[in-house]
Subunit: 372 residues, 4 copies
């Protein structure tokens, strides 16, 4: 439990450094009997793959995934699914000037203090590249959840000052743009405006932050566990564990601070069956840590890429001041590539919580074992 | 791991329902040899105790804690520290009208779907009362961390539209007010303004949200684990596991979305010794999930108390619409009582992470076992 | 995870020292909807209660259990079930002569080195008294498993050289004797012979070891998880965690060393339906860590009570030799009181594993969520 | 936590099926700063490698390990160490006749019931081949513990009726034979006698069980955690998780059942410094779950290889009886190859426990953080 595993029943462990031999993930506890092949996973990896647009790093990784275990005759077999992604296009030489100093905004200093030694090449373990391994594992979970009718809508809702104003359902909200625009924004106009903004940042050798919105539709009510393992607590941990995320909002998020109970409570209405639906969704689908059957709504704020080509003030390992200019290949904005990371991390949390939930009632256990 | 435990080496497990016999906590893994008695813990519990001001519930719980184990001759002995708080002033009759319907903004519906049965009295397990047990455990951790020179400054920074504008260090920032004002605001003016605002809310049978700010000073660099157990990921889980929290910000939080790398990066400066300090603290003291030695800065947004005395639209357990009027004793604002919960949860996370960190270097293990 | 918790989904945490205020257990993850009251648990606690026979310690604890949480209107509610047992009849003065030396055969020295301080009264946390808390938790699990038709037969099969030769089903195997004889032996003749043997031990101020046999009938096939969480690995940990146990055998146990494949393999036979049964049960019902539907068979060897009234050679905390005579009240044999501990620990392991097993198949998850 | 991970701070996760693409391990939590290369690990893997003697399967796997991550410039870097072993010499065709029936003595039936689908080729995940991945991880831990002066002596002490009578220190106990004899017996005479015995077994198309003895010297006192995570409980789980192990003995093991306190207690003697030593070692170095500084002594009983070339009675997946003849390449005795598995699993448990122990005292934490 030194930090590279996540989940309780469904548990992912990742490994690998940015410029080492490979990165990968082991997904343990995944149920047997789901069809799975590498193409299922590759489709997700391709969404975060570098080198695909003018606003993403030029590092040309194919990010081709190999399933090493856990799949037999095209189906998951209940055993750990190990997935391997070899590193190829490492320009480790680019990092030579970083070996004896600490990049501002990066984990370099903390790692150096903690471990004494440090893989300075591309950030080593602290690189965003690690998230490819999570995406591989989360893709497997998301495939399963989709088969239960659960839908993940995850997109960039802001880059710098440029916001997506359209909401899902609005005429100018085009879901297909998430996969086709370089910004992963679902609104054509915002995408163009954001690209212009990013051009400006790049011209100034600068980078931009942004925001990701996540909506999960079709989650049954009753998912999540009380107190410490609240569904939102686990989602918050998952999201905040993505390197550059600095804020996690559920439902109305920070706006609740100024709200009143009378307008923040979501009235319950009959849904015709024996469930409920809510007249509004300020809570983001989670009350007391348990899903209420409404859409789960989250927003993440992602900081600007800390690697910028401007001179920066830092300190070297001897404690001396130094002016640092970072070369190498870096994204002017991370947020479009982080979308699929957030989406698949959410899938891992949700599937784990849904598996946990199966034994919440004595009657359900009795029925499973044929004793009702 | 069904949800009531938190932590890896230092692990707290809480139990208890709002109107059951008792609530309590078992803190396992706490090191031996720290002086501890009930007064140490009681001081923290008194900070969240109900019934102390016009803006807190009238429920008159003494919240007297009894240490059942883990302390011998006034010192912790390394074994689980069990702490018990009996419930006394339950007016369970107040909840009779809730037994067959679901309160908006509460966990009632989720619990009902998940478990089939539900303790409707005061929210049962989902009650904020559960957090008293966490405070008891966290108080023990905070006592230890204080002995290492780590300082927790945690206060209410907003109630509804009323903000605390003073920053720590400013002349009108008076830390002593956190414990003495009903709002837990460290600025006399804000406290008064907030009380006026809350009077208005109460007159309208309404409630208000708010914001908590947390600053932890003196955390060594190098604390936190990579990837999934990032210090901020674990803090985010801890904070979001507090019932009404809907947003967790680290450092600049959501503002990073509009920031640029050039102004979001914190320049490193020599600190005279072999460490560093940062010229600014946009990151909130955590980079790549590892502390950098700067102050750890967080903000939490807390939703308005969902129990309000106005008629609300809901559904009963038969799926029929119902107009609900909640009686009973409820806080018009939760946020002042949540301050000590956030503070002590942070202490639990930090102490656990610091214990984990002791074995990060081979040399440290060798030294501990006398082999260097 | 400093050692006082056990289990994955169904998780027990115990607390308490032998001569502290109380001992207890928190059972988290137990499903909602099972009827439960204190009498269910008390019946199990009474089986290990001291003071009931000439061969058990005279310490007269009532071991009365109080349920503090997790039960509402007579039913489990899915939340942690906290159970409290106050300590009463402590003669802590008996231990005064032990405060500065280490009892042979006890954990005193290890605790002193590990923690620096040590509750010398009755062994503190290392006392067998701690197992009462496990029994309370395990009783809840066993009640549930019985409702699924699973039967636990657990008894003393040897005390010193006196063996129980009768097997379940034999005419002289009388199951009712387990609860009614002081030895917990299910054979009248063995019981009497063992009592004579123990009289001799006591006359010589000595103590005796013994053996416990456990048979669990009705466990479905397919329970247990691969590799590290094998059902037998988890049972072995549970059994070896009971203080005095020094050997754990599954099925034929140590005899397999001399066996051949041809006589150790259990042939599979059709059972008429689509299951199997085995022609023999050398494996003890577990193959590759997964149950095969046969009876689960285990044997535990329990060391003689280390507290004996003879002079013993030891060392004091200053490193000086000392001759020690232990007074106080001690069992001449532990094994009869350990039977219910082994039985209920096995119930905890089995129930947890059965809950884990519910999500092993994708189809089972789909069916649970109404998608098959 | 579906079964393929083990450990708390130092945590290994294995993956892979016998006839899949690869097997491997991820070792997380290993401290930074230990020199490590593939040769360190390969030496251990070679000890369990198949195809090396007449009494081991003819499967000719090179078992060449590749370190994928966690090592930088020849040193561990504190991040997960992923190790990969490709499968090569699979004769999956040998298993064609097993695809629709269950091998006696194997996990086939349990896996089929649990997962619905099953990799019938060489036992899939339940194959002993999985243990190569554990050996890779455990080799890393053992390398570190050796640097602390801890010595692992692990050997075959019996094959069928042939016992090793020599004890460590006896003139005819030759430790070097463990690595050089096919039986891993440290006594020349026993080795020859066992080989003759095994020839007989093979001639009769049969297999033999055996016994492994483990002695760990140099373990500091105070290692292990109370109650559930007792050092022996964790070791027992580790050992019983090795496929064919059916009995785990600590110290005198099952013999304690017939012992008396007066001869089972190990007297404490001064050791000259401020520690102790014991006059005997019936306890096997562990009292109350905590090490006492004596040698840790364990014995494991390993069942005969269930795959034998004689006709056996079984059932097919349609529930029909079938006579099965197993072809393929199988060891007539597993126990020599299991020695290094037991040894390295013990190293993993011990190192994890030693890392956990570092935070047992408040003073140790204060000293680590420079506050004593």
């Amino acid at each position: 439990m030194a930090g590279s595993s996540f989940g309780t029943i469904l548990r992912v462990t990742t490994f690998g450094e940015s410029h080492g031999a490979a990165i990968g993930a082991v997904l343990d506890g995944f149920p047997a009997g789901m069809p799975l092949d590498e193409a299922d996973i590759q489709a997700y990896l391709d969404r975060r793959k570098p080198g695909r647009s003018p606003i993403a790093t030029k590092r040309a990784e194919s990010d081709a995934v190999e399933i090493l275990s856990g799949v037999f005759e095209g189906q998951t077999e209940g055993t750990p699914i190990a997935m391997l992604i070899r590193n190829h296009d490492q320009h480790s030489g680019d990092y030579r000037n970083l070996m004896d100093c600490f990049r501002p905004g990066h984990a370099d200093y903390g790692y150096a203090v903690k471990y004494g030694i440090r893989d300075y090449r591309g950030g080593g373990r602290s690189s965003g590249r690690e998230t490819a391994a999570r995406v591989a594992a989360g893709a497997v979970a998301e495939k399963f959840l989709k088969s239960l009718g659960i839908d993940f809508l995850c997109y960039v809702s802001a880059i710098g000052p440029v916001k997506v104003h359209a909401q899902p359902g609005d005429p100018d909200f085009d879901r297909s743009l998430i996969l086709s625009t370089p910004t992963a924004m679902p609104q054509a106009e915002s995408n163009e405006e954001a690209l212009r903004y990013l051009s400006g940042c790049m011209a100034e050798r600068d980078s931009s932050g942004g925001e990701i919105t996540l909506r999960i539709h079709g989650v049954p009510a009753g998912i999540g566990d009380p107190v410490m393992n609240k569904l939102d607590a686990r989602l918050a941990a998952a999201m905040m564990s993505i390197g550059a995320v600095k804020d996690v909002a559920v439902g109305d998020g920070a706006a609740v601070s100024e709200a009143r109970g009378s307008n923040n409570n979501d009235a319950f209405l009959p849904d015709g069956g024996n469930g409920i639906h809510t007249a509004s969704n300020h809570a983001g689908g989670i009350l007391g840590g348990i899903s209420d059957g409404s859409d789960i709504l989250m927003r993440l704020s992602v900081k600007p890429t800390p690697s910028i080509a401007r001179p920066q003030q830092t300190v070297d390992i001897a404690g001396q001041p130094r002016e640092l200019v970072i070369t190498g290949r870096h994204d002017p904005v991370i947020v479009p590539r982080a979308v699929v990371v957030a989406e698949t991390m959410a899938a891992l949390v949700l599937m784990d919580s849904m598996m946990m939930n199966m034994s919440a009632k004595a009657e359900a256990i009795r029925r499973f074992y044929g004793r009702v």
